[in-house]
């Protein structure tokens, strides 16, 4: 079985070279295998520019070129893995490949059988290539800083090709590459009063950037109004899609994990047990088809185009990795080992985004939330801070920025009895994290109006 999605500039020699390198590497692994052995491998590479900005100037510009291979060797029911960096020169990298096989074989000899071993045996190959020419990073930065002339801008531009590959000794080959950019910037009024904006994608459009910068400047002007400090208590609130990203991020922290649900560590186990529920308008789906993450996972299993997780406020599915599937006699659905969504999609509602402030009437407009954590995980109770452009609204009009406030409330209430409505429009929010490598995850989320949200500090 094979699928292919291609959108590339055939002249892009460097891009082709990375794929050719991976295929040569996989052939080397094939040749290195001894009888009775199976291998799977995951390839992770990128050539990135990172330009950090502060005070409207360049703080730290640089580039990173990296290649990693996670090689997994299986013999019978025994297996182990070794991850190592690669130079890109196969003549030299074959030394590291040989060292990896040697270590893996020595290790396997000492291990017991693993009852939960699972790897893809049905060959499902695929190729997805999204390559568009991006302007040079220094040109983009010049445009950004010129557009922010006179403003206190701080942020990061990350851009370049990201590559993910999978191969196994059964002949499966999966290739995913995308050249993308992600600009995240904040315009500061003073102290902690700022407007944060993100612009990410595959095609840099000067017009789109200018529109976003114009909108940010307009919101920045609102921060010049005297700020209001609210007393602790319950307030009606509108959470923008960006604020919802932080809340959804908490659900991603084991909430949908098949293993965490089976071991009662998920914040949603009470929903699974029928003891709690969200409002009937709430739905979550792992929507690989419309996300930016690869359609295959580290053990080579293909991901379904969509995995329904919450429907009509009830838990209807979970993300099940191959290992969890084996342990708990479930069917895997191509989840990664951590069983975290990579393309989480929340169903929209009926509220138009332009009517959100009117629906809020009077209360808090929360542009961003920050640093959430659970204060009582089984109760799905979480705490966190408002951040960046958050405002007090009266009769549908913004009247003042608000000083940061801490909320502490259960999502069973916020997206349950207290949910007034979700916006029909949803935003695609591309993950900007780059721990070790640039993330390829995303979320598509609506905004939400809630009748009460508990603030404590």
């Amino acid at each position: 079985m094979f699928s292919e999605v291609t959108l590339e500039d055939p002249q892009s020699e460097g891009i082709v070279n990375m794929e050719a390198y991976f295929n040569d590497l996989a052939s080397l692994l094939d040749r290195s295998l001894a009888p009775g052995e199976v291998y799977t491998c995951a390839f992770d590479a990128e050539v990135s520019d990172f330009v950090r900005m502060n005070r409207g100037k360049i703080r730290q510009p640089g580039s990173v070129s990296q290649r990693y291979l996670r090689l997994h060797l299986i013999r019978g029911q025994r297996h182990a893995e070794r991850c190592f960096s690669l130079s890109g020169d196969l003549a030299r990298d074959r030394v590291d490949v040989a060292a990896a096989f040697s270590w893996l074989r020595d290790t396997l000899a000492e291990l017991p059988d693993d009852p939960h071993l699972s790897y893809a045996t049905e060959v499902v190959s695929s190729r997805s290539v999204k390559v568009r020419e991006l302007p040079a990073a220094d040109e983009v930065i010049a445009n950004v800083l010129d557009a922010a002339s006179g403003l206190d801008l701080v942020g990061i531009y990350a851009a370049g090709p990201v590559y993910r590959g999978f191969a196994n000794s059964l002949g499966q080959r999966n290739w995913h590459q995308a050249t993308s950019f992600n600009l995240q910037w904040s315009l500061y009024h003073r102290a902690d009063k700022a407007v944060k904006t993100a612009y990410g994608g595959f095609d840099w459009s000067a017009g789109t950037f200018e529109a976003k910068m114009r909108d940010a400047r307009e919101r920045l002007a609102l921060l010049a109004m005297p700020a209001r400090s609210l007393e602790p208590g319950s307030y009606r609130a509108y959470l923008t899609p960006t604020a919802m990203e932080e809340i959804a991020g908490m659900l991603c922290w084991g909430g949908f994990s098949g293993r965490a649900l089976a071991t009662r560590q998920s914040c949603l186990f009470r929903v699974q047990d029928g003891e709690a529920a969200f409002d009937a308008s709430v739905g979550f789906t792992e929507n690989t088809l419309d996300g930016v993450a690869p359609a295959f996972q580290g053990e080579g299993f293909a991901r379904p185009t969509a995995v329904p997780l919450v429907r009509d406020g009830q838990l209807v599915g979970s993300l099940v990795s191959p290992r969890t599937a084996k342990e708990y006699s479930l069917a895997t659905n191509g989840a990664n080992a951590a069983e975290m969504p990579e393309s989480l999609d929340m169903a929209g509602g009926t509220l138009t985004a332009s009517d959100a402030l009117a629906a809020l009437d009077s209360g808090l407009y929360i542009g961003n939330l920050w640093y959430l954590n659970f204060s009582d995980r089984p109760a799905c109770r979480m705490t966190g801070m408002t951040r960046f452009a958050s405002f007090w609204v009266e009769h549908g009009k913004i009247v003042a920025p608000v000083n940061v406030m801490r909320f502490d409330d259960s999502l069973f209430r916020l997206l349950g009895e207290n949910l007034v409505g979700l916006t029909a429009e949803r935003e695609l929010l591309v993950d900007a994290n780059s721990y070790r490598s640039r993330n390829v995850g995303s979320m598509r989320l609506p905004g939400a109006v809630v009748s009460e949200m508990a603030f404590t500090l």
């Binding site: 502060n54 360049i58 510009p61 580039s63 991850c83 700022a194 071991t263 009662r264 721990y435 070790r436």
Partner: protein, 478 residues
């Protein structure tokens, strides 16, 4: 690695004011037994180099996993191109920056000791796993360890040569208990909270042997416990909660790059401003905080930071007064204020930024028994489980795995879901007792996140137990 690297560094060419090479070769092994099933072991080998260039007033870096001479030359060329391209728009004039030329080396304690074998690790982890899975209400449990060996080499065009070798041991044990619609997790000092440099001898210091049954017993106690009551009371925080309190409400706010605004788009700013150093009362007179890279077993001890500055112990807060920030050589130059050697990168592919390293609270003179006896109405909390603080590092809310009420000077009822909230600027001024050396533990975390691009780094925190007055305490939902 070092000999050929020195030769390659001499051969690569650059026409710039200054350039440096930072090579990192880090090897990690992970072993785990979950629910009595040995998990497949993994090993990682991560090797690469970062070249940094100062030219024409600009500066730039390029990192590569191609450590051949040609690969290093290509990265050096790229870094030089960035330096020149950014020169006219650079926030920092690189002509004013120090050009490190120090020579020296460092090695963790027992850096050359023979490590435990896979078999030895699996036997120990299996033993603790068997002991932890002792009750039908225990629904998940795991004993694991990660060991790391890292070699760092830093060379500069000014003749600087620094070589440092590290060895880290990071065991973990966690148990999850569930019954009657509630789930409670108990760990040995928090997830990867046991993290030190040196050998496996650290296991004995923390009582890892025997911890499976002990931690499981505590998880079951929590399952049967009432929620922590709400109210204003004294809080006795043990070291495995103090590490989080120090980290979030002293460490991050004192990072000089935050104060200078670099982190405002991501990790945040700070309520601390430059004018506070030398006079601001951060805490009560009992509060003494040091940056101490010299404690051998602590997770972030080293002789030089990643910008080649020699690392030395320094007081950040003395008798409650703020003295100096956590800022490396570049930040110090920008701010015009003395700092410490804390420019650190989490690997070869990320540039150094101001980080915590070992950030410690100096011990006081109270025994644990004295501290408990002096509390009329309070709660003991241990082992962090939840952390949240605002982007200025002021309004916080933290939660712990384990709570125990203190009534009339005695420990009484065990309580679950103990949480407390406060404001950094006030909280440390309510510090009313600092435990003695016997209450001190040397802990840390390998997971401090910060930076754009993102970085996750190892930090150490040594702390005694401490008592805070009039804390806003509360529990979980009924």
């Amino acid at each position: 690695m070092t000999e050929s690297l020195h030769a390659d560094f001499k051969q690569i060419k650059c026409t710039a004011d200054f350039w440096s090479l930072r090579m990192v070769d880090e090897r990690a092994e992970s072993f785990s037994v979950r629910k009595n099933v040995p998990q497949p072991p993994s090993m990682s080998v991560d090797r690469g180099a970062m070249l940094t260039v100062y030219a024409d007033g600009g500066h730039g870096y390029a990192a590569t996993s191609d450590t051949s001479r040609a690969g290093l030359q290509a990265a050096l060329d790229r870094a030089a191109a960035w330096a020149r391209a950014s020169a006219t728009r650079s926030l920092i004039d690189s002509r004013s920056l120090p050009r490190p030329a120090l020579r020296g080396d460092y090695a963790s304690p027992a850096a050359d000791a023979k490590p435990w074998s896979r078999r030895e690790w699996y036997e120990l982890l299996a033993q603790e796993s068997r002991a932890a899975g002792c009750d039908s209400r225990i629904v998940d449990w795991e004993a694991s360890v990660e060991t790391r060996n890292a070699e760092h080499v830093y060379l500069t065009s000014e003749g600087g040569e620094v070589s440092q070798r590290f060895r880290f041991v990071m065991p973990n044990l966690s148990v999850t208990a569930h019954a009657d619609g509630d789930t409670q997790m108990r760990t040995l000092n928090g997830y990867r909270g046991l993290a030190q440099q040196g050998s496996e001898a650290m296991l004995e210091r923390f009582g890892f042997v025997g911890s499976g049954a002990r931690v499981a017993g505590e998880a079951l106690q929590l399952l049967a416990a009432p929620n922590c009551p709400s109210g204003v009371m004294d809080a006795l925080l043990l070291p495995d909660q103090m590490v989080l309190q120090i980290h979030e409400s002293i460490g991050h706010p004192l990072e000089l790059d935050r104060i200078l605004g670099d982190e405002r788009n991501f990790a945040g700013t700070s309520f601390v401003t430059l004018d506070m150093f030398g006079s601001y009362r951060y805490g009560s007179e009992l509060l003494n905080v040091t940056f101490d890279p010299t404690r051998p077993e602590e997770l972030a001890s080293y002789a030089f930071d990643d910008d080649g500055t020699r690392a030395e112990r320094a007081y950040l807060i003395r008798n409650g007064i703020l003295e100096r920030p956590l800022g490396g050589a570049i930040s110090q130059k920008r701010a015009g204020i003395a700092g410490v050697a804390n420019a650190r990168a989490d690997g070869w592919n990320r540039p150094p930024i101001d980080r915590m390293a070992n950030l410690n609270i100096e011990p006081g003179d109270a025994t644990l028994e004295q501290m408990i006896a002096e509390i009329e109405h309070g709660v003991l909390m241990r082992t962090n489980s939840s952390w949240s603080i605002d982007d200025s590092r002021n309004k916080f809310q933290f939660g712990c795995e384990w709570g125990q009420l203190i009534e009339g000077g005695k420990l009484t009822t065990v309580v679950k879901n103990p949480n407390y909230r406060g404001i950094s600027a006030n909280f440390w001024r309510s510090l009313k007792r600092v435990g003695d050396e016997l209450t001190l533990e040397v802990l840390g975390t390998p997971y401090c996140g910060k930076g754009e691009p993102s970085q996750q780094i190892r930090v150490g925190h040594a702390s005694p137990a401490c008592v805070f007055a009039a804390v806003d305490v509360f529990g979980g939902d009924a």
